[in-house]
Structure formats: C-alpha cells, structure tokens
Amino acid sequence: MAVLVDTNTRLLVQGITGSAGGFHTRQCMAYGTNVVAGCTPGKGGQTFEDEGTGQSIPIFNTVREAVSATSANATMIFVPPPFAADAIMEAADAGVELIVCITEGIPVNDMIRAKTYLATSTSTLIGPNCPGIITPGACKIGIMPGHIHKVGHVGVISRSGTLTYEAVGQLSARNIGQSTCIGIGGDPVKGTDFIEALTLFNDDPETHAVIMIGEIGGSAEEEAAAWIKANMTKPVAAFIAGLTAPPGRRMGHAGAIISGGMGTGQGKVAALQENGIAVAPTPGDMAETLLSIWQPA
C-alpha cells in the first residue's frame, strides 16, 4: 500500500519537453513509474520518446486533454518558476488527485494564490521546491536517486532533498527499507505539510515508524510535535537542520529563515523533545536515533 503513490499511479509530466523535465521523466520511467502523458502548451500532438523503455508518451496542450485521454491521476511539474503556480492550478482544475511540484523559485504571491485555489479542489499538492515522492519498488515521482531506496516500512518526511537522501542512505545501509518518502519542500507556502504527511503514515498499515526532517523557519515542526504527541501511534525520530544558522538570513531554501526570533532550530528541537520525540544529535545519526526507539520486525 504505502501512501499517495503506488503501482496504480498514472503519471502526467507538465514541462516534459524541457531538459530537466525530460531527463527526470526518463529516470522515473527507468525506475518503473507508469508515465502516461506529457503536457507542454503548443506541443500537443507530439510524442516524448524514451529510448530506455522503448515507450512513446503522448504530449498534450492542456492538462484537461491529457487527463481525459489517458486517465492520469498524478502529475509531476517541471515548469519554470514564472509559470509554475499556473501549472499547479491547471492540474487542480483538471481534477488530478496528486500534484507534485519540483520547481524551485516560485514567487510567494503566486503560491498564495495557488494555495487558495487548491483549497476549493480535491487535489493534494506536494511541494513546490521539493525532490518529490517515492514508494520504493513501486513508483518514483521526482528527482531523488531511486537506487538508494529499499522496499520497507519506514516513512520519511522532509523539507530538504539531500537530507532525505542522507536519511534513506543511512536506513538502506542498515538494510531497513522505506514505505514512502515525501519531500514536502523548502518553500514557506506549500501544499502538504508535516501534519498531513504524518496523518497519512499514521493511517498506513505498511508504515511502522517515521523519520521527520525539519529545518529552521516557520512553526510547522512545533505544531507537528504537538500533533504527534496527541495522535501518532507509531515511533517518530526527528532531525532539525540549521541550529547554527544566524537569524535574519535565508539559508538557501526560501523558507529557511529565522525571523522575529521565531523558527529557531533550538526552539524546534526543544518542542520535539518536550513532546517525547527522539531527536538525532547530528545528521549522521538519523537512522541510529530511530533504531534507538524502534526495531524492525
């Protein structure tokens, strides 16, 4: 089962004809993801050829056309930042259940509008500015390296791409697989947040434990900590990046900034610990910290 994506996922790629979009579409197909359509306005009627699998993927001008012709139920967005919020809304308008937006650098005001638009739809948004989502052995949507993953029972949720890989690498090296790994992204205005992802893992019988990776900025980790204490029935280990980050400076991710004394790493670690969540002392200890509170069956 796992969460959000599995072998039933039928993927559309918005921005499939761009260089990053094309490259990562091929990587996803090589992993076994069922890519059914592409969308690039003005290139409808053309096809996307994947030499690796020998498949020819039809390209459509609009997401509505793509969905109606192929029954795509998920989309991966590689559209450049000026047009990405529009692409998210187009996918929601077409009723795509899962929207995964990889694009980094979308203006905040654009995302504020897109988020409001999404509230009227039934779509789930992952990202933007994220590595995507993967259910090992079943479906990869995004830019993460597929081969580091193993099929298993640990759910991973993270605001950071490379730190997700780090956690997955540590788990796989100990022969511990993952149910689903969700990169929720590094932007301040985003779709799925920690609590929504934790809820999915809490309800998923295939997920037995969770690693949650946060960073400075905002208060999502503090809210998640309280939610975990009140609701979570499975062990959760956490790591927070940015304990040494100076206030008022944006640390790469648009959302990674301590402002007005809020969103410090120390405050997040304290909130997690106060709610009984094990926090890894260094990023090299994420898997070990989980193993200190949970043993795979």
């Binding site: 905040v108 509008r113 830019i143 490379t162 905002g218 208060s219 991710h253 990023p283 090299g284 200890d285």
Partner: protein
C-alpha cells in the same frame, strides 16, 4: 532583497501614502542643501543602512537649527553604525536622509507580511508604535492585532476598519488609515514585497496618518519581473563574497567560523554547519552549490571560501543523487588544480558511483583527506582546522 528607507518612502509616495517631506543625500554638503529645502523648523537627519535599530545606535538625530543639522550630518555620515542587526563591526553610513519633523499625537506599529501557517498575507498592527515589535509580541501579545487577507478578493474595507478601531483611531483618521492600508496592500502585491513595516505610523495633531519610518523587503523569487525594484539595489550594503557567489548561482552566506563548507543541497548544507559545531568547530559559511556542481561552480566556490583568511580547513560534503560522484570528483580535482588549495581539504562523497569518485580523488595526487561518512568527514575537518591553526 532589502532597500533603504528613503527608497521605500519613494514607493509610498508613488502609491499615494503620506510620508513627511524628505530628500536623500550622499555627502554632508548635500545634506545641508537638502535640509535647507525642508519646511522646518524641526529637521531629522537619518542614517540610511539596511539594518534596523538605527535610532538606538546613534544614526538618527532630531535637529532644531541648521547648525545642528550640519553637526549631525557630519557625525553620522561615514560612521560605522552599530545596531542589533549589523553585528559588532557595524555598517558604514554612505547615504543620509533629511526629513521634515512631524507633529506626533500618537505612534502605531503597522506591518504586512506572509503568515506561513495560513499561507496568506497578514496585516498586523499594534498601539505600541516605536517599540521593538518582537518584544511586544513576547511580552504583551494582546496588543497585537491581525487580519488575514484572502488573495482572491484582497484586503476588505471592513478589515481596515477593524484594524483602525483596534488601534484606537476615531473620526476621519479611521478613513485615512483605511486608505493607507489599502495602498500598502496594493504596493505589497504589485511589487512582490516580503515585508512592509511602518514603525511608527504616526497620527498627527490634525488627525492625519503619516509613515514616519518605512522598511520594505522584496521576494527574491519575484525579482525577475521587477527591474524597477532591482534598480534600488545597493551593493555597498551586501557582503562582497555573497555578491560574487550570486554571479555563479551559488547560495552562500558568510559566517565567522574556521571551517569552510561546500555542500549540495540547502538542508544538507545547514546540517553540515551543525555537525561541525557538534564536533567543536564553527562553520565559516553556508554554501549550497545546487544540483549541478560543475567544475566552474566548484572552482568559484573554492575561490570564495579560500578568500576568507579565517578559514583553516575546507569540508566538502556531497550526497550525489542524480549527479554522479565521479562527475563531482572531476569538478573538485579541476578546481583544486586551478585554484591551488593551500589549506586542508576534507571530502566526503556518497551516492551514485561513489567508489569511482573516491578513487579519482585518491589518484589525483592532491592532498585530499577522505571522509568515510558525514560524521567521519566532519571530525576530520574539525581536527584539520585545529592543526592548521596551531601551525600559524
């Protein structure tokens, strides 16, 4: 991106928001000429730097005579202004703003910014004008009033009235404040601001509202569509190393420690700084080379890191995902040969083709110390920095 107060007030005027008469000056002589154009008799000399807390640092002087203006301008222009936001070394004052004194009956605080919890823009106000809003939020949160703006319909007049009445405004001032808030929201959206703060917003004896201060920041992600805002950029206010890094599309933030960091991914870059501190050294920088660590980018990154004499060792921490470790190793070797690395270099590689990448580094003949994993690499980097410092 940040701009100066006088630039923010120029934008306020463009949007019909009341501000005192004022002129920017780039020398003491300019300042005296500008001050003479003000109605007076009270004139204010204000240092223009991008940090807040200028008044407490001695960067703002209220003057009753032109002689006082000249003395204040002479004292402030060129000074190293130290505030709680500049760090101990302060920021040199290169620009002044000469402004007419205002008739102040009451001081308020008003700001507009993103509320991350709701994903909406929030209009925030307080009767505690002129105070540090962080202290107000901490000590007397009941004195802060907020309304959240629905982007589909924008800021509504009833919301403006709610804020104005919460601030204790009466009569025509309520209407004038409402017009001010509406213009502020228009400016905030049209110019893609990330923060607009007026502290204080003043109610005058005659019931008018005037922005006595103005702080406006912009969303870097949206600057591609705002050449007119980019024209306000003041390079003197930015760290030259960060400006240089920006040219190569490197995310770099200068810090004060001894171990330089070169990492792919923002989260891993932050975590690398943290693990160095965990093992007893302070990071010299945050640096995310992004998803494509080409030789040109890595070379530029090494140059910037080595340009800081306080760097005693460099820790390269890469988790090669889609990007292969051998590609990264080739970039590191080429960069190391071009730049001539004169300080200990510790490299931790993980991910796709890691064995080949490690072999290339080992065979390169370069004095590169290999980190087996992140913890091992960080410990080696901390030790190497201490050894290097001991030899100095």
């Amino acid at each position: 991106m940040k701009i100066h107060e006088y630039q923010a007030k120029e934008l306020f005027r463009e949007y019909g928001m009341p501000v005192p008469v004022g002129y920017a000056a780039f020398s003491v002589a300019d300042a005296v000429v500008a001050a003479a154009k003000l109605p007076g008799p009270i004139r204010v000399v204000k240092a223009q730097i991008h940090a807040g807390g200028r008044g407490l640092g001695g960067g703002v002087k209220v003057c009753k005579t032109m002689a006082e203006v000249e003395a204040a301008a002479t004292a402030i222009f060129g000074m190293q202004l130290v505030t709680h936001q500049t760090g101990p070394e302060g920021q040199q004052v290169r620009r002044l703003y000469l402004e007419d004194g205002a008739d102040i009956a009451a001081e308020m605080y008003v700001s507009m910014l993103l509320d991350r919890d709701t994903g909406r823009t929030v209009l925030m106000a307080s009767t505690e004008g002129g105070m540090n809003i962080e202290d107000v939020a901490h000590n007397t949160p009941e004195k802060i009033f907020k309304v959240w703006i629905d982007p589909a319909v924008g800021l509504q007049d009833f919301q403006c009235r709610q804020v104005a009445f919460a601030l204790g405004m009466t009569g025509k001032t309520v209407r004038k404040a409402g017009a001010f808030f509406q213009s502020l929201y228009k400016l905030y959206v049209e110019k893609d601001c990330s923060l607009a703060e007026i502290n204080p917003l003043v109610v005058t004896g005659s019931g008018d509202v005037i922005a006595l201060d103005a702080k406006v920041n912009f969303d870097d992600n949206a600057m591609y569509r705002h050449a007119e805002v980019m024209a306000y950029r003041d390079m003197d206010e930015e760290d030259p190393r960060e400006v240089e890094a920006g040219k190569y599309d490197l995310n770099y933030v200068h810090l004060d420690g001894s171990v330089g960091c070169l990492v792919n991914g923002a989260g891993l870059a932050m975590a690398t700084m943290d693990i160095l501190q965990h093992y007893g050294a302070e990071p010299a920088n945050f640096l995310d080379v992004g998803g494509s660590a080409t030789a040109a980018k890595v070379t530029a990154a090494f140059r910037i890191i080595l340009g800081d004499a306080r760097v005693h060792a460099i820790f390269v921490n890469i988790f090669g995902g889609i990007m292969k470790c051998d590609t990264i190793a080739a970039g590191i070797i080429e960069a190391a040969q071009q730049v001539g690395i004169d300080r200990p270099l510790i490299v931790r590689l993980e991910g796709t083709n890691v064995e080949l990448g490690r072999k290339m580094l080992a065979d390169s003949g370069l004095p590169i110390v290999s980190g087996l994993d992140m913890k091992d690499g960080a410990q080696k980097a901390v030790a190497a920095a201490a050894e290097y410092a001991a030899r100095l």
